[in-house]
Amino acid sequence: MFAYYPIYRGYFRTSIMMMFQYRIAMLIWLLGGIIEPLMYLVVWRTVSQQQGGAVGTYSTNEFVVYFIAMMMVSHGTFTWIMWEYVYRIRMGQFSVMLLKPIHPIHSDIADNIGYKFLTLIVMGPTVLLLAWFFDASWQPTYWSLAAFVPVLTLAFLMRFYLEWSLAMVAFWTLRIDAMNQAYMVILLFFSGKLTPLTLFPEIVQRAADLLPFRWILAFPVELLLGRVTPRDLLIGIGAQLFWLLAGYLFMQLIYRAGIKRYAAFGN
């Protein structure tokens, strides 16, 4: 594991250097990640106020905290790899990565984390500003805060493996935009990104339990909100570990099949 340290340091260094070259593009991108949850926040807050201060089990204040937390968790876990892969394979860039004596996933992980750290400069103040503006009140417990760190890390990794594997469908067909879009819609509904899952009918909630998406977003968010009991925390971490392992095996499988199929386009 430690053998990878200098490599990751190298990747961080170069990816941050490159991001500085594209400051504006990065900022616009970041804005998208802020506006989407902000939109849901405003909608649900308005609905809740008109319903007399609550919808289902969520109070107006909880909606505000929920979507601010969602903004952070979503930012922390999102990847852009599904779009990147098509380009990478179509342009033959994947060949360059394959020639290196290291699995290509490492540079992607480093790139992603590098971006996250760099954008903290904007994300951190934005979160504080929104909390102040919407007058959010939040009293987390120490244990849920402590548990949040490993839960978010697991969420990040499982999402990374899942999306990295799906991205490799580009080995079979380069027209995966429709698939990406479908994935985003499913994620939107079953992850709790659009609305807290408890507001959905029972059957949707049970479906969400069985899919990986809620363990990526809703679970860490609910943990921050203090809506997860210690027992549910253990179940949640168990589900995360299960999906992480499944994602890892899936990634290995599809990667092996994919590079056999890889046609090294261009050049």
Partner: protein
Amino acid sequence: MEQNSVIQIDQLSKVYTVNEREAGLVAAMRSLVKRKTRDVNAVDAISFSVSEGEIVGFLGPNGAGKTTTLKMLSGLLHPTGGSASVLGYRPWERNRDYLRRMTLVMGQRNQLLWDIPVVDTFELHRAVYRIPEAHYRLAVNELTELLELESLLQKPTRNLSLGERMKCEIAAALLHRPSVLFLDEPTIGLDVTMQRRIRRFITDYNQHTGATVLLTSHYMADVEALCKRVIVIHHGKLLYDGELTGLADRFAPFKTVEVKLQNGVNNRPLAQYGELMAQSEGRITLRIPKDDTASVTGRLLSELDVADLTVQDPPIEDVIEHVFSQSPSPIDDSEAQQAQSA
């Protein structure tokens, strides 16, 4: 297997399955139900071996299968048949130790990161290839000197000219001191001076490190300067494997005779001596069958007022062109083996 052979290929094949569709809407709809595919033999059972320290030219027209072969040897493509071993590894298993010991340079291929200074890509390579600091410094200094990179290292890749970029690409590909080099058109698009510099560099690197080089190029000057031995493939099949000088003997059954006449050409019946290739004031160039060289030059000297006469092998470009314009008649295995051991 030869004792010190670094690259050993046996009956290596690659078949691409391509979708085939006729033009038109009906055909497009039909292809939804039933796809028509066609197999293309990009590389068709080729065998050869390359010894340690050799520089071998890998020649063939566009689409002959050169790049596909190099991609298989560097582990990018899985073959559909046959076997290959490089430094004792099966390339497409992509063993990390293998990847650390070889390199593939492709013209136009970008391994330099576009937006950051060249030296920062080098630094990243140092980490990825786990090159010890001292070795890295030594390699950078040496490559900087040999390729004259001094003024380029601090510039972002996007600000470099094609030639400058190519030099830096080559340097980046060699930082880890690979012992096997696959060079695919390393001088493509470069001016003559730059081509010459890169050629000299490849020779130097080969002599310094004893690395084995397999190189493709469309520039015969590259091949003539670097390779004693060439392997020619056409339509995926091996056509020739042997000394570069032997290529003319084998494939060019003619010689070029240039004659300078004392009293000008003046409507003399020159076609009787051979095929008239060029004619200018007092000077003619004839192409004659190799076997007739002695008799025709004898006749020219006795029948015409010759001031000067030279007999040459045709330029290597012409030979190659001649080879590729013929229908493929691959030499059989025994001949290939003979050529190899020659």
